[in-house]
Amino acid sequence: MAEIQLRNVGKRWGDYVGVDNFDLTIADREFLVLLGPSGCGKTTTMRMIAGLEDATEGEIVIDGKVVNDLEPKERDVAMVFQSYALYPNKNVYENIRFPLKVRKVDPATHDARVRRASAMVELDDFLHRRPAELSGGQRQRVALARAIVREPNVFLMDEPLSNLDAKLRVSTRAQIKNLSHELAVTTIYVTHDQVEAMTLADRVVIMKQGVVQQVGTPVDIYDRPANAFVAGFIGNPAMNLIEGVVSGGTFRAERTEVAGLSAPQGAVTLGFRAEDAQVVDTGGQINAPIYTMELLGDSTMVSVRINGALVSVKADKTFRGRIGDPVSIAVPAAQCHLFSAISGERIHA
């Protein structure tokens, strides 16, 4: 059982704000993903929970106990590092066993626990190899096994998949999801890859420049982004964002006119997802020449340029057009998101 509370936690280096006023309760057994571009403070937040970095403000509470002044080893957390940080002079078996050894766990239980952990990540056949003799994926699994062998209260994972190739990433991602379900341990996972965040998380925290932008389930964040940054960060492709002006319930921008919106007068950013719009013969809300076309197999991505920004629409996979051909795009008003042009915050209809 481990509930983690971050009470207004902050990290400053002089004038530089690494993490600002992070306030969140992470439920027991929750899989929480910290997501954001590099330098957004997500890793710093995790390192503060691990005790590798001191919080300059606020309190970190694990299992009802304030841990700010505790050493990493006293916090009962396990961490998987981006570089794996395996011990190169020890073989796989000794690497996995190390946490048991230094924590003086009853030596009689070591062998069984190491073997159980290594079986969970399918490393049984490699126990006598050194890390240098393993592939990237195998090293990653040693790091995982070393983290789970102790059955800690909290799992911390710092971009564990970013050093793997694309194919291995998908299978290891599935393995991590399965493992966290099986072990039922509170997990905090840091990534800059929104696909990992969407697939793994119970809840996602999106950060930018040290500030939390939105906390919510993957569906929440995808369907109701709290601001233009989240909208432009989540989804593949990210949400289309067009800057323009609303007057009388109609949004106008270059080559664009969307009517039937319930928003006050003024400058706004209009957002919609590529799959929510359709390419039509005539009478669409956007009429522009095709800028580029990408065949994706199951669909065709058609892009036009509005105000210099790329606007993409998913068309049928049989759709064909030439670059420069005029195209008409239907954007249903009900599927549109409006954000304030000044603050970027969502305008609630």
């Binding site: 590798l52 080893k73 957390v77 590092f81 981006q82 570089s83 011990y87 002079n89 946490p99």
Partner: protein, 293 residues
């Protein structure tokens, strides 16, 4: 498999091979010459009449009845008790290396992991001290050493040698530690180590090539030192190098020079063995910083 173009002898290759051969000869000659000459008598090795006497041992045959003699070695080791100097050197070297490495690893680790700016300035200060001539330390301390009545003893010399050597060991070990990712300590600390346990169980085992290389350089400094040991040690506590010097300094008596030659060969032999024994570690240590594993 060597291809035809690799085995064919071109003029350029012939020139480069002969240059390497010439260099080898020039580099090795003094050692071979001394080694050969150490088995002759002084009248041959320092012959005024004909230098080839040193090669054939004309006088050696005349004096001892054989082309080779162990007189020099007998004189140095038995008559002049050179073994005492060897033991002194051993004590000085062992303690200098152990103390330098202890402070060097702890200090180098601390400096490598410290995020503070003063770490940089400490290292710069160390570099300045390293650049100073050794004699500056000795001359400055001579008077206090006399006053405190600690002049002439081995521990005093060891302390001064450590002081001279420490900046270098700090620098060298510091850069070795910088090459070990911080993740490794942090991982060990999350796994349940204290900072010191992480250092001992995780970092030091990875560091062995660096420690051995640094230790070897410390060894060489202490082993070969003349300035400090000649100034600070009394005659009965002399290490090998000043002892050899004093053999040379008494040329009025015939035979003493040959003691020096024999002692030089005796002092050099262990170095060859040491370098050959540790060459793998030295090379991996010297290049560890250059290439990322």
């Amino acid at each position: 498999m060597a291809t035809a173009s690799e085995t064919r002898m071109t003029p350029a290759k012939a020139v480069s091979f002969s240059l390497v051969g010439l260099w080898l000869f020039i580099a090795a000659f003094p050692f071979l010459w001394t080694f050969w000459g150490s088995f002759k008598v002084q009248a041959d090795f320092f012959s005024k009449a004909d230098w080839t006497n040193a090669l054939w041992g004309t006088q050696t045959i005349a004096e001892t009845g054989s082309a080779f003699t162990g007189q020099g070695y007998f004189g140095a080791w038995v008559i002049e008790a050179f073994w005492q100097n060897v033991i002194n050197s051993g004590i000085v070297v062992v303690f200098t290396v152990i103390i330098s490495l202890t402070f060097g690893t702890l200090g180098g680790y601390a400096l490598a992991r410290s995020g503070f700016r003063y770490a940089f300035w400490l290292l710069i200060a160390a570099l300045v001290f390293r650049a100073m001539p050794h004699i500056t330390l000795v001359s400055g301390y001579l008077l206090p050493f006399f006053e405190w009545n600690i002049w002439g003893h081995l521990p005093t010399t060891i302390i001064v040698l450590v002081a001279i050597n420490q900046p270098f060991t700090l620098w060298m070990l510091h850069s070795f530690f910088l090459n070990i990712p911080k993740d490794m300590d942090e991982s060990a600390m999350v796994d349940g180590c204290t900072r010191f346990q992480a250092f001992r169980h995780v970092i030091v085992p990875v560091m062995w090539p660096g420690v051995i290389t640094t230790g070897l350089f410390s060894f060489l400094l202490a082993y070969n030192d003349f300035t400090v040991t000649a100034m600070l040690l009394s005659a009965e506590n002399e290490t090998m190098i000043p002892a050899i010097n004093s053999f040379l300094g008494t040329t009025q008596v015939e035979g003493k020079v040959m003691y020096a030659v024999a002692a030089v060969v005796s002092a050099t032999a262990p170095l060859f063995v040491l370098i050959l024994f540790f060459q793998r570690q030295i090379v991996s240590g010297l290049t560890a910083g250059a290439v990322k594993g």
